[in-house]
């Protein structure tokens, strides 16, 4: 749940722009179903697509229910949300997976600055570091993240080039 909570949250709020109350219902519903299926979700590679599909389906159900209540034509929902937003959220999930492989100080500083919108000063005060140090650490940590992310996403080397 720790691993997927942000992803599910982002699909409901950014992808489908559900109102917070509906988004929360979908969020809880997704994890209720995840817990029910936990035993059968053994293949790690299949978990993310399954959760993404489930979340999208529940969001669409919620939009349909809402459209019935306010009399919106279902056709108006046909292209919601934009596919590129969902694709970007998948990329964002991959970046967060790479981020989780970095040293903890990099995880914390990048997450607080970019995902939680905290200022250099707020982060610096809580870590007892000057704001300038925070800025340079962010830069170094982004470099590490880029290497980690590219390492995760680089295609396998041809067998003749593989390091043995």
């Amino acid at each position: 749940m720790e691993r997927f909570s942000r992803y599910v949250y982002a699909i409901t709020i950014q992808g489908f722009r559900l109102p917070p109350h509906d988004a929360e219902d979908v969020f809880q519903d997704v994890f209720a179903r995840v817990y029910e299926r936990l035993d059968s979700l053994r293949d790690d590679d299949a978990v993310r697509p399954w959760i993404a599909q489930l979340t999208r389906r529940l969001c669409i159900d919620r939009l349909r229910t809402g459209s019935r209540e306010v009399g919106t034509d279902l056709e108006d929902l046909a292209d919601a949300p934009a596919d590129d937003v969902l694709t970007e959220l998948e990329e964002a999930f991959d970046v967060h997976e790479a981020l989780a492989e970095l040293p903890e100080n990099c995880q914390v500083i990048l997450d607080r600055f970019f995902a939680q919108d905290e200022s250099y000063r707020t982060i610096g005060d809580s870590l007892s570091l000057p704001a300038g140090t925070i800025a340079s650490r962010i830069s170094r940590c982004l470099d590490k993240l880029r290497m980690a992310f590219e390492g995760r996403n680089s295609p396998p080397l041809p067998s003749s080039e593989q390091v043995t």
Binding site: M1, F27, Y35, A115, D117, L142, L145, R146
Partner: protein, 84 residues
């Protein structure tokens, strides 16, 4: 060689802010809530008086059992009792 420069990575990190703490806590409590709900349904199957109390006023009956009658819980119990 990479499309993932620092600016892009920063933007992608920012696309996944934490879910609200209350949502996450509620989701973490779901397995315990499910166990409680299952117990109530089993008891309702075995105890006609308890079942009648649930059907008459579900929210109050759940509160009497020490369960917070959140809409999600109430809906779930109601569905299970109806299916029963």
């Amino acid at each position: 060689m990479s499309n993932y420069d620092a600016e892009t990575l920063a933007r992608l990190i920012g696309m996944l802010p934490p879910a609200p703490v209350g949502w996450v806590q509620a989701a973490q409590e779901l397995p315990a809530a499910k166990a409680e709900i299952d117990q109530i349904v089993v008891r309702a199957q075995a105890d006609a008086e308890f079942r009648a109390a649930l059907l008459a006023d579900l929210e109050t009956a759940l509160q009497a059992e020490g369960i917070e009658p959140e809409p999600r819980v109430v809906d779930k119990v109601r569905r299970l009792l109806a299916d029963d």
